[in-house]
Symmetry: C2
């Protein structure tokens, strides 16, 4: 059974994840990705979607032209788990 990260693990993982921060008032992490245009943004979303589907762990996200805002949390435990960290790492990699 997947478990929420403990405070120290969560802080350590987040410190290594460039651009991600904690969501106010909710146990989740968030990042705003900026791209040059819609095509680049959607290419990033497509690659992220394939990873999410492979992991069976999906983002909450929105897109306006070149901007993609992502929030990650693990619904079954209502908090941040290793799955969120792994998906966030993948997204950072895809964003270059």
């Amino acid at each position: 059974m997947i478990q929420k990260l403990e405070a120290a693990e969560r802080a350590e993982a987040l410190a290594k994840l460039e651009g991600w921060s904690s969501v106010e008032g909710r146990d989740a992490i968030t990042k705003v990705f900026k791209f040059g245009d819609f095509q680049e943004a959607f290419a990033f979303m497509t690659r992220s979607a394939l990873l999410a589907e492979r992991m069976n762990h999906h983002p909450e996200w929105s897109n306006v032209y070149g901007t993609v805002t992502v929030t990650l949390a693990t619904h079954v435990v209502d908090g941040v788990t290793a799955f969120d960290i792994r998906l966030a790492e993948g997204m950072n990699r895809f964003a270059g």
Copy 2:
């Protein structure tokens, strides 16, 4: 130059667009699309993204698992134009 739809045109177009409604406090239209899972939702988004790119007219949208919430407006005129209606029609078609 693309122009905002006049009130009567806008109302007529919206009446034909199943599930779309006006956004409160903004000249834009919105619809929430519901799918069975993330894979179906993202397939819809991919097809919509290709149409958007072809039209060079892009949605504002968010996705959580099987739900896709779309807002359409034409930024250069800060309102609803024929482009929004065309993109909305395409999205309805893609959603089946």
